[in-house]
Symmetry: C2
Subunit: 94 residues, 2 copies
């Protein structure tokens, strides 16, 4: 999901994987995989990309973290209930 978003932003800016990969100090194979969700982005990557694409850091980081949550809950039972409960607890701890 964050990968799809990044790809959209990249294409909107007409940038090549090669160019964006350079900003992240990685190679095209890696970024290709990241965009397709086959490898995770590092948090620092997201911050760099927020600058490159002039997006609010918060928006991209939120999507990035949501992605991580979904990655390690899907394929589990009671996903929705668990996320709801996690949300409730997180709010309480505020």
């Amino acid at each position: 999901m964050i990968g799809v978003k990044i790809r959209q932003l990249r294409e909107a800016k007409q940038m090549l994987i090669r160019e964006v990969a350079a900003q992240l100090k990685t190679d095209t194979a890696m970024l290709s995989k990241m965009e397709r969700g086959e490898r995770p982005f590092k948090k620092e990557d997201i911050i760099v990309l927020a600058n490159v694409f002039k997006q609010p850091k918060k928006e991209l980081l939120t999507l990035w973290l949501a992605d991580r949550i979904l990655k390690n809950t899907s394929n589990e039972e009671y996903t929705i209930e668990s996320i709801q409960l996690a949300l409730k607890i997180a709010k309480e701890n505020t």
Copy 2:
């Protein structure tokens, strides 16, 4: 959190760590750590414990998974927003 719950249930049943650990085919040191959140429970452990303590499997599994979510989101920015977004997406994918 799931650890606290398990400990409560164990104490309510007046069982010793040693006894419950045996059910999980592990030792007391391990279960002690699990109850205190220093090591994770395996999913299968939770199911065994639901039987031992006569609790609804769903309730314990939900708490167990919520725990996992919180573990890898806390210490991050935008935790609540991310969990909210994850919930939204999870619901859509239903």
